[in-house]
Amino acid sequence: MIPAAFEYHAPTSLGEATALLARLGEDAKVLSGGQSLIPMMKLRLASPPHVVDINGIAGLAGLREADGFLRIGALTRESDLEESALIRTRYPLLHETSKVIADPIVRNLATVGGNLAHGDPANDHPATMLALGAEVVATSPRGERTIPIGAFFTGPFATALRPDEILIEVRVPVPAARSGGAYVKLERKVGDFATAAVAVQLTLSAAGTCEQVGIGLTNVGLTPIKATAAEAALKGKRLDDAAMAQAAKLAAEASDPSADLRGSVEYKRDLVRVLTGRALRRALARAEGKG
């Protein structure tokens, strides 16, 4: 399959890249890992007249903790996240997410920034970043701004990024003591999108009650979903079986899946209930130091 013809740009600085985007507007698409964009172009689901390849811009990849945040450069490859000792030991939710995105070869090119900027509700990082309470940093010729992840996904394949903006960094708050997270995904096979998946990140108080909790849902709606009613039901509570069952039910009610080859609406909604329960239990065990 051959994509429609396009003009290729390979800027070497952010200034050059955002100036190009400002000039080309909606006619341009940013090429990051390309593992979603290129298949869409080959299928002619996307035919951008201009492609702006940001892979030649130095400094956009990398993982570091600074100023209370884990800073993930937008061009960080999923395989780098997966193999990072920092991520494996301190961010189990991110580690588990990175391991189930597409397949190992695709993960060598696929990027964290691209996974979010694509705005696909079937992608895995959106739910995870919603659970983590992340922020997205975007830059344009008008300067830099920070977008809370809760305001980032505006519709199917649509985000708060403006045509002249490039996502440059994702910031995840460094977890407090007694925190744990988990990503539980059901997929038919490696490389498939989730039938449904649930991301949970929680922090316990010294007394053992739930101080903070984030719950994100993958591929069960037109956008990634933050299960806010389920979160509210858990805050301040002891995370016993009854509380978790109630939260799982509320998360299922927050989902809005469509029927497709992966299952019916009823099946997927019940799957959200089951996966939320599993993710909560695994996150709790980790917060208690047993995971």
Binding site: Y8, P39, K42, D53, A102, P104, I105, V190, G191
Partner: protein, 157 residues
């Protein structure tokens, strides 16, 4: 656009349209037809090559993105007329039937063994989970990768 790249240690230059996929540059311009096109939708892994040492699906990379990169294809495994231990192991362990997925399996396996020289069966299965084989049921492919690991660790070539 003019691109310069190295394939199996040899420098190449080509004039390409930006929309040309890397796999077509390799097969049609450079006549390196060992790399196969399978699904053409980044699922099957038959087109896997190494770009700067990492396995990538060359049907999902534009040739212009390979400008200045070091590529390795299945043709680069054999050295001085001698098969790489991984290729020899695919022969001795019957790690293929029709052979269509084999170039991709070999390139994924080659990069994987450099990172993990003594993998468990589970680790091999995870590593090749982006490469589909419709003949073998994977059993002999996994055996072949582990056989190669043992051969290489014993200093065999």
């Amino acid at each position: 656009m003019r691109v310069q790249l190295s394939v199996n240690g040899e420098k190449h230059e080509a004039d390409v349209e930006p929309r040309l996929l890397l796999v077509h540059l390799l097969r049609e311009d450079l006549r390196l037809t060992g790399t196969h096109i399978g699904c053409d939708t980044s699922h099957c892994g038959a087109c896997t090559i190494l770009m700067d040492g990492r396995p990538v699906k060359s049907c999902t990379v534009f040739a212009v993105q390979a400008n200045g990169k070091q590529l390795m294809t299945v043709e680069g495994l054999e050295q001085d007329g001698k098969l790489h231990p991984l290729q020899a192991s695919f022969m001795s362990e019957h790690g293929l039937q029709c052979g269509y997925c084999t170039p991709g399996m070999l390139m994924t396996g080659y990069a994987f063994l450099q990172k993990n020289p003594r993998p468990s069966e589970d680790e091999v299965r995870m590593a090749i989970s982006g490469n589909l084989c419709r003949c073998t049921g994977y059993v002999n492919i996994v055996k072949a990768v582990q056989h190669a690991a043992a051969t290489i660790s014993q200093g065999g070539a």
